[in-house]
């Protein structure tokens, strides 16, 4: 670590984070190192470091380009210069950002927020330039395919070393203008980099180093061949930094984490999109312990001690379980969150309705200004003129209309843009909080699953609502909101115990969706019913609960723009399984998924065919 002491004076405005600085410097020394992706949560200095890097490039006139999130395709790959085209009446091409970027640095903030189509363009020619990018994993990730094309990747964490932290406060205590301070440090860095750069191609290597690099990669379960190539160049640059004439195994070891971290098979899961990762981990352990031992008394809220009715499903469940569980578990409990995982991708079919909402789940025609242009059309409700399309239409008539210096455009030439955007949904969770969910700690797994879906909703910019049904009624615990944070809190405190008034839960969902549609009539709804389907309490006295469920399902099915998923929480290994949730799924024409299958591991993505509603 002694080596890192020097790094204090490089990019001095950022305390610590030596690995990130090392990665940047290696890329300054040799562009073949393949770029750096800085990953970290908000406020750990990703953007600051990127700004400092930019400052360095600016100071010494190194070429770079920046790609902002609002970039359009024409600017990225070049296209027609509208301004000049209009003026001159002949086609004038404009060079795209990516063409300009050749052999220089490309800076991208929050790369994960760029649409996949643009990422595909950027990474298609990524061997031409060096990408330095930041990303916050809480906001979603980028495809491993693209990740692999990045040379290095550094996880930035907040500083918890006391000394460094006080340094940081001292530094930022007095306000400073970024561009004007520490110039001597940057000059020193520049001289250093230029010197090392000149040395790097003279570095020799022995034949054994090949074996060593391959071994390191294989040991770390890295299968892509890019790893070794980038690792070689990184090790070479590092050897040059150390002022040595040969690449040695220790050089490889030192830079290996930078190159290999994002290429390990399991690493994609590492930055759990969880606010309280540690807490979660502890919970996880607790849960595992709980599962091994016979259930102890988890903390109970115990506000309600009214004796419950005998539960049919309890009788049906394993006798041994009942003996242990019944006396010791109070009627109402609050379970911990279970394991959070990356849920399967849920795709919904595109429909033909133009919308004004935005989000990241499903593609839809959009009325917003943004969105990807699909084609130009003659009629459109909103007046987003497709300039280029209009010129194209008017072009053949110019001679006829006697054009002098300006284009002659008639009203009938005007074309509009049809655009497509990804939209979010309202996701309504209808959760079973009955006593049957308490058996076998089922609620822990269920909560984990809901949390996982919630994280997914957040990344896709969905709105969420939550309905809990138990005892004799259903209640909206969370009205439609975009705050997943809030949903998370509510979820944690969700109580369990009592009967299963499934029909009431569904009715509540029906009312909620109806109300929501009054306000946002075209929004798409995703209804997620999480239950084992063992309805036993009707809304009306003496009615058949299952019959009621069937009737309400029929109503829900007929709502516009709705898709439904039934997540079955029944323990499938149980001796007496009833598969009632399957019937429910049929009544709702919903997709049926057992709880266990919700994880992303199974590759087949869940595709919901949009049933063509009345449109």
């Amino acid at each position: 670590m002694a080596f890192f002491q020097e790094f204090k004076s490089f990019f001095p405005e950022l305390i610590g984070n030596y690995h990130a600085k090392l990665a940047l410097i290696l890329n300054l020394i040799d562009q073949k190192c393949g770029g750096v992706l800085l990953i970290g949560k908000r406020g750990v200095g990703k953007s600051l470091l990127l700004k400092l890097f930019k400052k360095f490039l600016n100071l010494f006139n190194l070429s770079y380009i920046e790609i902002p999130l609002n970039v359009t395709e024409e600017n990225l790959i070049g296209g027609i210069d509208i301004e000049k085209t209009l003026e001159k009446g002949i086609k004038v091409y404009q060079e795209g950002l990516l063409e300009k970027a050749k052999n220089s640095y490309v800076l991208i903030e929050e790369i994960n927020l760029l649409p996949t189509e643009y990422l595909s363009l950027i990474f298609q020619t990524s061997y031409n330039y060096t990408i330095i990018a930041t990303m916050n994993p809480e906001e979603g990730s980028i495809s491993p395919h693209f990740l692999d094309k990045m040379g290095m990747c550094v996880y930035m964490e907040r500083i918890d070393n006391f000394e460094d932290y006080s340094d940081l406060l001292r530094l930022w205590g007095n306000y400073r203008v970024l561009d004007e301070f520490y110039l001597e440090n940057y000059e020193k860095l520049y001289r250093y980099v230029s010197f090392v750069k000149a040395c790097r191609s003279n570095i020799g290597y022995e034949d054994t180093i090949w074996d060593y690099i391959v071994e390191v990669c294989l040991k770390n379960m890295v299968s892509t061949h890019r790893a070794e190539i980038f690792l070689f160049f990184a090790a070479r640059a590092f050897a040059a930094m150390k002022g040595e004439g040969m690449i040695k195994p220790e050089h490889v070891n030192f830079v290996a984490p930078l190159v290999l971290l994002h290429r390990k098979r399991e690493i994609e899961e590492k930055p759990k999109p969880q606010n309280k990762e540690e807490e979660n981990q502890q919970n996880l352990q607790k849960n595992q312990n709980l599962q091994k031992e016979p259930p102890k008394n988890p903390p109970s809220k115990g506000k309600d001690s009214k004796p419950e009715r005998e539960k049919e499903e309890k009788e049906l469940s394993d006798l041994k379980e009942v003996e242990i569980v019944f006396p010791s578990i109070p009627k109402e409990e609050v379970f911990e969150l279970g394991e959070v995982f990356k849920p399967k991708r849920i795709f919904l079919r595109k429909d033909r309705i133009a919308r004004t909402t935005s989000g990241r789940r499903t593609k839809s025609k959009t009325l917003l200004k943004g969105g990807r242009f699909i084609r130009s059309v003659m009629f459109s409700k909103d007046k987003d003129v497709d300039l280029f399309g209009t010129i194209k239409t008017a072009a053949p008539f110019q001679k006829l209309r006697g054009r002098k210096d300006k284009l002659v455009i008639y009203k009938e030439d005007i074309r509009y843009k049809e655009k497509e955007n990804k939209i979010g949904h309202l996701v309504v969770f209808v959760t079973d909080g009955s006593g049957s969910m308490a058996a076998n700690q089922r609620m822990i797994a269920t909560k984990g699953a809901i949390m996982s879906l919630l994280m997914d909703c957040y990344q896709k910019r969905d709105k969420v609502a939550m309905i809990l049904f138990r005892k004799f009624k259903a209640e909206v615990v969370l009205p439609p909101t975009s705050s997943v944070e809030l949903a998370h809190k509510k979820l944690k405190d969700l109580p369990t115990g009592g009967n299963t008034p499934l029909s009431a839960g569904l009715l509540e969902a029906y009312k909620l969706i109806k109300k929501y549609h009054l306000k946002f009539p075209k929004d798409r709804i995703l209804l997620v019913v999480i239950t084992d389907g063992k309805a036993n309490i009707p809304i009306k006295f003496y009615a058949d609960p299952l019959k009621e469920v069937q009737n309400i399902s029929q109503e829900i099915k007929n709502l516009p723009y709705i898709e439904t998923i039934v997540v079955d929480t029944e323990v499938k290994s149980e001796f007496l399984r009833m598969d009632l949730a399957k019937d429910l799924a049929q009544w709702l024409s919903a997709t049926y998924i057992p709880l266990e299958d919700l994880k992303a591991e199974s590759l087949t993505n869940l595709i919901i065919q949009k049933k063509e509603s009345q449109f």
Partner: protein, 336 residues
């Protein structure tokens, strides 16, 4: 500078799939399923670089072959009695980016021409450039549906027919369609899947010595590309010659009754949909025989190319594991 094809280590199946397509264009393309970082696009580019220049009609914007089929423009010139001159052009890999628009793919009206001459004139798109070249689509499974439809259309007909913006135009669009995909990222529509003649699966090589060789060659190439190319030139020329000869002779390769029966036996036992599998298998086997300088297809050839031609056509219900079907397939194959 492009990494030499012959210096690519292993991945024999992918290389073979590409070569067979070059020998016989009508095989219908190659789908490469595989992990990231397995030299998929490098291999395609390298092959295009290896191949000799093609002859095209001089000045044709659609790479028309001197012997036809012709685009409307060449036909017009022929009608006027012009003789079409010939020029040579290097083959290229035309890449189709994911976010591509319809305009860019099929072509559109030429504005400049329209404004100055007041006439509609066609401006070629990517399909025109791809004519008689490689059309490479990275992550083909993520391509948007309306673009896939366009491609299906012209890939099937070998013609790009444009009826838009008041323009009526057509030109030949015969390209070697090469798609790559990572099945974990989403499925490909079965209809599109079937259009690919051959399909290979590539995996990263885990053998230590081979990996070392890959690394060594790549670094050698990165540091001193000229020297590296020089070193591999003889190999490159040898392979190019082999392909040219196979291209010349594949049509004369004979197929015996036995071989026909073997093919039909294989495909009927597998219970495949449609006949594309049989036809592609026969074409691939002929190309493979020609590549090995033979005048007759052997049963061995069928065994060699059957996995490429049939792998992606197995019938499979959603959520069903493909393993069992693959096992059965190899069982049937070994009995030929």
């Amino acid at each position: 500078m492009i990494f030499p094809f012959t210096a690519i280590v292993d991945q024999e199946e992918m290389k073979l799939g590409l070569i067979l397509n070059v020998i016989d264009h009508s095989i219908g393309g190659l789908l490469i399923m595989g992990e990231k970082g397995t030299a998929k696009s490098t291999t395609v580019r390298a092959l295009a670089d290896l191949l000799p220049e093609i002859e095209i009609v001089k000045g044709c914007r659609f790479n028309c072959a001197p012997e036809g089929p012709f685009c409307l423009e060449c036909l017009e010139r022929l009608e006027k009695g012009e003789t079409l001159e010939v020029e040579k052009k290097k083959m290229e890999v035309v890449e189709l980016p994911l976010g591509v628009t319809e305009d860019r793919v099929v072509g559109t009206i030429d504005i400049e021409y329209a404004i100055t001459y007041g006439k509609r004139h066609f401006e070629p798109g990517l399909l025109a450039r791809a004519n008689r070249n490689f059309l490479y689509i990275d992550e083909v499974n993520l391509l948007e549906d309306h673009i896939v439809d366009l491609l299906l259309d012209s890939a099937a007909m070998g013609i790009n027919r444009v009826e838009r913006e008041g323009i009526s135009f057509y030109h030949p669009a015969r390209f070697i369609l090469v798609g790559s995909m990572n099945p974990e990222e989403g499925e490909l529509r079965p209809q599109f899947l079937d259009r690919f003649g051959l399909c290979v699966e590539v995996r990263a090589i885990l053998d230590k010595n081979l990996r070392k060789e890959i690394l060594k060659r790549k670094i050698e190439f990165d540091i001193e590309p000229e020297k590296f190319l020089e070193k591999w030139r003889p190999e490159q020329e040898k392979l190019a010659q082999k392909i040219i000869e196979a291209k010349r002779s594949f049509k004369e390769v004979k197929v015996s009754e036995d071989v026909y029966e073997a093919i039909v036996g294989l495909t009927s036992e597998l219970n495949l949909d449609g006949h594309r599998g049989d036809i592609v298998l026969l074409k691939a086997a002929k190309a493979y025989a020609a590549f090995n300088q033979r005048k007759e297809v052997l049963k061995e050839d069928i065994k060699k190319v059957a996995p490429l031609a049939l792998r992606h056509r197995f019938k499979r219900l959603p959520f069903e594991e493909p393993e069992s079907e693959v096992k059965r397939f190899y069982g049937i194959l070994s009995r030929i």
